[in-house]
């Protein structure tokens, strides 16, 4: 067979090599190569399955995360979607209904310009009160109340890194870091 082109001649070479291998008298060699291929394929299948598992679930489980003030720009497209919102609890807006065990409040941005009503039924963390920084997961409705399924609240102090102003100075608020952030489900 005489053909031109490096690619094709390389393929021909490979074919010849494979043919040589398969004509080798030693059965063990054939068996070993076949096993190696099987193992490689097996490993490959598992790796691909794992990658698929991860990527598929990242796509379907990740929720977009917004500061309250960022929502206004995309409010139309987000209507009815599951999102996560972060903002502050508007002072005086917390309304706890003891009978239905729902909590209603208003979440607003730092400047108090944009705000949305939120309704949540579930355990309210101890850190949840006027002025708390809150994170809520749930369904956004442009012209109705945000239905929250998860509520996290942080008291108005902060994390070690943001906190540390200058070396040699005490941070402004005196609470130790780790479990400031409390969750309610």
């Amino acid at each position: 067979m005489s053909v031109s082109g490096t690619g094709v001649s390389l393929t021909v070479e490979n074919c010849v090599t494979i043919l040589e291998w398969s004509y080798q008298a030693n059965n063990g060699v054939i068996m070993k190569n076949k096993k190696q291929t099987q193992v490689t394929i097996g490993v490959g299948v598992i790796v691909i399955a794992l990658i698929w598992l991860v990527l598929e679930n990242t796509r379907s489980s990740s929720i977009r995360y917004f500061e309250v003030k960022e929502i206004a720009a995309e409010a139309a497209s987000l209507d009815g979607r599951q999102i996560r919102m972060r903002g502050k609890v508007k002072n005086g807006s917390i309304n706890k209904d003891r009978e239905s065990l729902k909590v209603r409040f208003v979440i607003q941005d730092e400047l108090g310009k944009t705000s949305y009503p939120v309704e949540y039924s579930g355990i309210v963390p101890d850190t949840f009160k006027d002025g708390s920084e809150v994170v809520v997961d749930g369904t956004f409705h442009r012209d109705a109340t945000f239905e929250a399924t998860m509520l996290q609240a942080k008291c108005p102090s902060k994390y070690e890194m943001q906190d540390r102003g200058t070396k040699g100075q005490m941070p402004k608020n005196h609470t130790s870091a780790p479990a400031d952030n409390q969750k309610g489900y």
Binding site: T58, S61, I123, K129, M161, H174, Y185
Partner: protein
């Protein structure tokens, strides 16, 4: 004299000595000069001595409430009980770095002493690697977070520790976890020494086998203790939320578990050498990463990450380690090739490989889920969050497969499993599992997501029991000892193997507990007036009264709930809310009644204002029934037992040359030899 003043100079001395030790150890090793090597080793001892001085001076400052030190003022106060003042040592970044450094110093000393007449080729490089690690943490302390930083204006009183952290777990959980993290440095150092010297047989593995087990054990216990703390203290009814901080500790443990298994393949068959070196390096890197994540809160947002100076130091170090490891592996590539190959698709080797792929896959999946939000924001500018649903959906299939492998792998034959081998080993456990499934179904336990894992647990238990049973009987037939004696000697002479099986029983317990408490969990919220009752599952709870206790340390509001289980009165649960003087919000104290069957878990959510004195307010409670959650904690005891047995020194020293390479079919024979 103010002993604490010694702290900072001690760190400086330790830093200089660690660099000296590293340099002389390497120089002495390359020139084969004993004097230099010894000097390097002694310098390492001195580093530890100075770190002891530094640690003691920090403790001294804490105990004396010396609030001229920033660290002392930030993490302790005079109102805190003594044990939490000492625990404040590891309360923040700077102290944690010192704890790390001190622990490495301790391990270096121990490793040097244990191996002072052995491993002469490897030890100088081991010490060098350990010293590089120590100097990294010293750099962090000297140029980043200094535990001995002084306040420009000393304060009169320090910061009260968050009451959530004021419980015994705070004393045990961080040091346990750190012991695990730091422990991984030792096998890593030996692996690097092996790569550098070219001594790439399993000598480094055998030397570090107990260290790896030790580190793995403490890492696992640290994770479990953290989960238990979350369960009892955080009050949301669960114990694992796939929080970045939780994930940071789980990832190195998963990789270490993979490593523990894959080294067996290298020891028995000389395979997976590159894999093992890479795994131990990854476990080490993830330990460093885990420490950093936990103490710095960087994953709360991208901005926190980029603003952090320490963050860049960590990343640079991790990058340096990665480049170093890759370089060393590439240099020795040909020496790292396997002595054997996988011969059968269904074999012990292939099952171990699958086990490793899954464990590593799990660790990487968790890593991905944890950093994806940061990546997404940095690259696409879109902020996302990846929460529990992702992790649960990814981990459940991986976990179930691993569970089945836990039963399958120990019994399957080396090289290639024949159908007879498979039938002999697995028919009975499989039948047992199927029967268990049917029995569960008949008893009303129907949900597939619960029945399948629980049946798998029965399968694994079956294989373990089969191994113990056959082993004991075979030994009895061979030696004529009684059943009891045979059993004891069987375990005593094969401690790794049977210790490992007991650890697997712990794994079964863990999976059973996780399945029960997630799939069959019951949840209910109710507002009750005094005397009213509520039912949840087979429990009935009656709200009887509310106590208010005033106390200088904290005010307590305690609700009394009488509990009936299947109609029988079993006691009173006392959920409370505590109000601490300088904390803005109350702390929930959960009330838990735990049995092996389930936990009844109650939180006092809130209560109405009383209109009249003496009137009992109506109160809202959140209740959970968590079936089998006790098995999660019980798994810790099995792991402890199994690991202890596996780590005990072997009674009979096998000659080094007689490494057992089990030919096909030996796994069938009931006389196990490690």
């Amino acid at each position: 004299m103010d002993f604490s003043k010694l702290g900072h100079p001690a760190l400086v001395f330790a830093f200089c000595l660690s660099l000296y030790s590293c340099a002389t150890s390497v120089y002495g090793a390359t020139r084969r000069n004993r004097a230099w090597i010894l000097s390097g080793r002694n310098a390492a001892f001195a580093v530890f001595a100075f770190l002891c001085i530094a640690s003691l001076s920090l403790i001294h400052a804490l105990v004396r409430h010396d609030f001229s030190y920033q660290y002392v003022a930030e993490y302790s106060s005079t109102a805190m009980p003594r044990q939490y003042v000492i625990a404040a040592f590891w309360g923040g970044m700077a102290g944690s770095m010192l704890l790390w450094a001190w622990m490495i110093g301790l391990l270096t000393t121990l490793v040097s002493l244990i191996n002072r007449r052995k491993q002469e080729d490897l030890m100088p490089y081991v010490i060098a690697v350990l010293m590089v690690n120590v100097s990294f943490f010293l750099v962090l302390m000297l140029f980043g977070a200094n535990p001995f930083e002084r306040l420009a204006h000393p304060v009169a009183e320090g910061t009260q520790l968050n009451p959530l952290l004021q419980n015994p777990s705070m004393m045990i959980h961080p040091p346990t976890l750190y012991t695990g993290y730091v422990g991984m440095v030792v096998p890593f150092a030996f692996a690097m020494a092996a790569l550098i010297t070219g001594r790439l047989d399993d000598e480094w593995i055998r030397t570090t086998r107990r260290w790896t087990l030790f580190a793995w054990f403490f890492l696992g216990m640290g994770v479990l203790l953290g989960a238990q703390w979350a369960y009892v203290e955080l009050g949301w009814g669960g114990y694992w939320g796939w929080d970045p901080v939780e994930n940071a500790s789980l990832m190195p443990w998963l990789v270490a578990t993979a490593f523990l298994h894959s080294v067996m393949i290298q020891e028995k068959k000389g395979m997976l050498k590159v894999w093992n070196v890479s795994l131990v390096s990854l476990a080490y890197i993830l330990s460093i990463f885990g420490t950093f994540l936990t103490r710095s809160g960087v994953l709360s947002s991208v901005h926190a990450f980029s603003n952090s100076k320490l963050g860049s130091y960590f990343l640079i170090y991790i990058a340096f380690v990665v480049v170093g490891v890759v370089f060393l592996i590439a240099r020795r590539w040909s020496d790292l090739q396997s002595d054997n190959e996988i011969e059968g698709i269904i074999s012990k080797e292939s099952s171990f490989l699958l086990n490793n792929l899954l464990l590593l896959g799990a660790a990487l999946a968790i890593f991905w889920g944890t950093v994806y939000p940061v990546i997404s924001e940095a690259i696409r500018g879109v902020k996302v969050t990846v929460a529990a649903p992702y992790f649960n959906r990814v981990m459940v299939p991986i976990g179930l497969t691993l569970l089945v492998l836990t039963g399958f792998c120990p019994l399957v034959a080396w090289r290639r499993a024949s159908p007879e081998n498979l039938k002999r080993n697995f028919k009975r456990p499989l039948v047992g599992a199927l029967l268990a499934g049917v029995v569960m179904y008949l008893f009303g336990i129907r949900r597939l997501l619960g029945v399948v894992p629980l049946s798998c647990c029965v399968f694994v238990l079956g294989t373990v029991l089969l191994e113990f049973y056959r082993g004991t009987l075979a030994r009895r037939a061979m030696t004529g000892e009684s059943v009891g004696l045979s059993f004891v000697n069987l375990v005593a002479r094969n401690r790794r193997r049977y210790g490992g099986y007991i650890v697997h029983v712990g794994v079964v317990s863990l999976f059973a507990g996780i399945t029960g408490s997630n799939v069959y969990k019951l949840e209910k919220e109710a507002t009750l007036h005094a005397g009213e009752s509520v039912n949840i599952g087979d429990y009935r709870l009656r709200y009887d009264k509310m106590d208010e206790v005033t106390n200088p340390e904290r005010d307590r509001v305690i609700a009394h709930l009488a509990v009936w289980d299947h109609g029988r009165f079993v006691g009173t649960l006392l959920p409370e809310k505590n109000f601490h003087p300088d904390q803005d919000q109350p702390v929930t104290e959960t009330a838990i009644r735990g049995t092996i069957r389930d936990d009844l878990y109650v939180i006092l959510v809130e209560w109405s204002d009383k209109s009249a004195v003496g009137e009992i307010p109506s109160a809202t409670f959140k209740m959970f029934v968590n079936p089998l959650v006790g098995l999660v904690w019980l798994s810790g005891f099995f792991v402890l037992l199994g690991t202890t047995i596996a780590m005990l020194p072997d009674p009979v020293k096998a000659p080094a040359a007689a490494r057992v390479r089990e030919p096909a079919g030996l796994a069938d024979q009931a006389v196990p030899v490690d």
